[in-house]
Structures are given as C-alpha cells and as structure tokens.
Symmetry: C2
Subunit: 199 residues, 2 copies
Amino acid sequence: MDVSRLTSKGRATRARIVNAAAEQVRAHGLETLSLDAVGTATSTSRSQLFHYFPQGKRGLLRAVFEHEIAELTAAQEPALHDLSSRRSWEAWRDGLSVYYFTQGRWTCPLTALAAQVAATDEDLSAWLIAQSTTWRQTLATGVAAIQHRQQPNDQDEDLAATMICQIQGGLIMGRIDRSPESLRAVLRRILDWIPAQAA
Amino acid sequence: MDVSRLTSKGRATRARIVNAAAEQVRAHGLETLSLDAVGTATSTSRSQLFHYFPQGKRGLLRAVFEHEIAELTAAQEPALHDLSSRRSWEAWRDGLSVYYFTQGRWTCPLTALAAQVAATDEDLSAWLIAQSTTWRQTLATGVAAIQHRQQPNDQDEDLAATMICQIQGGLIMGRIDRSPESLRAVLRRILDWIPAQAA
DNA sequence: AACCTTTTGGATCGCGCAGTCCATTCTTGG
DNA sequence: CCAAGAATGGACTGCGCGATCCAAAAGGTT
C-alpha cells in the first residue's frame, strides 16, 4: 500500500482504521481482534480494510505495531539519546512511567502479541528484532556514557538487556496479575544500577 | 473430571494428552494448538479428549499450566525455601538456568499465554494470580532472610517483583528476538542485589 | 459368564472469521 | 464537465476448529 498516493480522505480513513485496531488490541488483545470489529468500530466496510491493507490482518497488525512503537519511542525522547547524566536517566524513566500509566497502556498486550505473531510472520519478526536491538543498543550506549566510556562493554549490554526485560516482564505480569504494581515496582528500581552522578 | 476414579489405563491416556499438549504449546504456542493436533499426536479420538477434559480446551490448558508450573517450582527446590544464604540464592539461580535452558524451555510461550488466556478465563486467572503471588512472596521472604530480617519490607518486595519481571521479560524478549541472550543476561545479573555473604 | 462402567472411534454440526469479488459512488485532474 | 482512478458497500465463499453425539469395544467386578 503506497500511502503517498492516497487521497486525503483515504489517508484519514486509513488512520481511523489503524487507531481503532490499536485501541481494540490495547483493550482486548489480539485473540479477539476481528476485522469485523474494526469495521464496525470505524464504520468501514470489508473492502476498505483490504483496500488499505492488502496483506489483510497481517498488514493491519504491522501498522498497529509501527504506530505503537513510534509512540513508545517518542515517550522516551529526548532523554533516550543523551543518557550521559543521572538527570537524563530520570527523565527517561519518567517518560516511560507517563507512557505506560496513561490510557491504560500497562495493560497493553503488545509485547505478548509480538512474541506470538513473530513466530508466524517473518517480516514482522525481522522488523521487531531490529527495533529491540536498536533499543537495547541505545540503552547500552547510555550506560557506557554515564560512566564516561564511549563503547559499551559486556556488562553494559547485559544491564541494558536486563532493563528492557524488566519493563517487558512488568507489562506481562501486570496482565497476569491484573495490577500495575509489578511495573511500578520495576520502574522504582530501574535506575538502581545507574550511578547517582556522573563522577 | 475426578482423576481418582480413572482406570490406570485412563490415567495413562490423560497424561499422554497433557504431555503432548504441553509439548505442542512449548513448540508452537497456543494460537496453533488445536485439539486435532493433540489427537493426532497422541492417537486419541475427539471423544477421549472431552472425556478426560469435560471443559474442553480450557480444561486441557489448565492442566498444561499446572503441569508446567509444578516443574518450574520443582526446578527451584529446595533452595527456594531457604534463601538465607548467598549459596542458596546461587543454587536457586542455577536451578532456573537449567530449567529454562534445557528442552528449549526458553522459547516457552507460557507466560505470554497466561496473560492472554487469563483475560477470558476467570478461574485460570485467579489461579495464576495466586501462583504468582506465592512466588513473589517466597522470594521477598528470601530477600529479607539474607538480610537477617523476618518480614520483608517494601524494598524487599519491590526487589522480588523486579526479579520475577526480569525472568518473564527475558522469556518474552527471547521469543521476540529468537535468542536466549536476553534471558542469559538477566540470569547473569539477577543476584546483583543479593549480598555476597550473610553478614 | 453376565453386567456395568470406563474407554475409545469417528461422523457431524455450527460458528466465527479471514479473505474474495463485483458493483456502486465519490474525487480529482485535465 | 468528464473520464480515470480512488473509495465504499456488502454479499458470498471457504475453512479451521471447538464442541456434541451416538455408538461400539475393552476392562473390571461378582
């Protein structure tokens, strides 16, 4: 689907569909995401869906992921790209807190979904791996930076990976426990390894 | 299904079904778990499945969870119930490592599944919450114990929650990244907050 | 052996849902 | 204003799969 050759009306419809799908997924997960439901929610017909997402559900899902990850990234900016001070790390953490605890995002099953869908959609899998790698490397670079090192070493990379796992685990546990407490606990402690002050 | 009134043959068949289902789930996830596949794998007919699991897929899934969680718990014993020494914590961690890195358990989608299924199955949800609460409390008690305190305080509980999140996050990221590296990184650092020696 | 219970086979139903197709209506650029 | 392309409507198809049901075989008990 070449978005650029769409009418403005078309673009609006497409966006409406993506938003509704994202909302549905956020609220009820993928299992129950049906094209019918998206159609109903957006008052669009079957053919519109396949018009804007020729790959069908797969394509729609990909768009949802892109949409959500763009927002997740935005929530961490601009701190994410200058993690050389404690203050910046705190801004990063606070950005995440805001992101996850507003509009019920802590219940978002995207992580679980990603793991699930990636098993059957090679394209999506590759893209997700790239995303997670970038995120991990960015954090690892930050961990190195606050210790006045250019290149992250193995320890830095383990720490970055661990931090991401904490967050994702917090999301998963939140869905299992139906409580944001795990994620909150994680975010309270996520800077424990970050030096209080750049020496 | 009252297991106790089953013939030995019946118990064997039931066990065969649970094992096959667990294996399927471990290998391909829930999305693709079909009763047909389980039936084929175990050479059992439709009616047998519903004979041993009157709740159908739901019941089968519950049995799979019970089965897997029993094994996860066993893998952490006996350390899990005496976490008052560094040595014991290390044994605990090593038990987890063995558990997850043998028979490809790091690819196990049970966590993601749990989050998914819990949304639509109240019974299962309640049971899972109980399981995770127990686990968290046990770890929190251990965190307190190694610091010579009887009752865990808020910090101990945050730490316990964080440790669990790390592990679960490691599993999720492993599925996304198709690599056990995240889980390995987590397990390398998971004892970072545990004092080297009981003072 | 006779009787009852458990275990097994497998055909069949019904539903939900992704995806296809063709016809119709709107937009837009020349 | 008038084609050409874009956007929309909605019926229809096909299939996977969970669940039901009616029997029939096997096993165990007295």
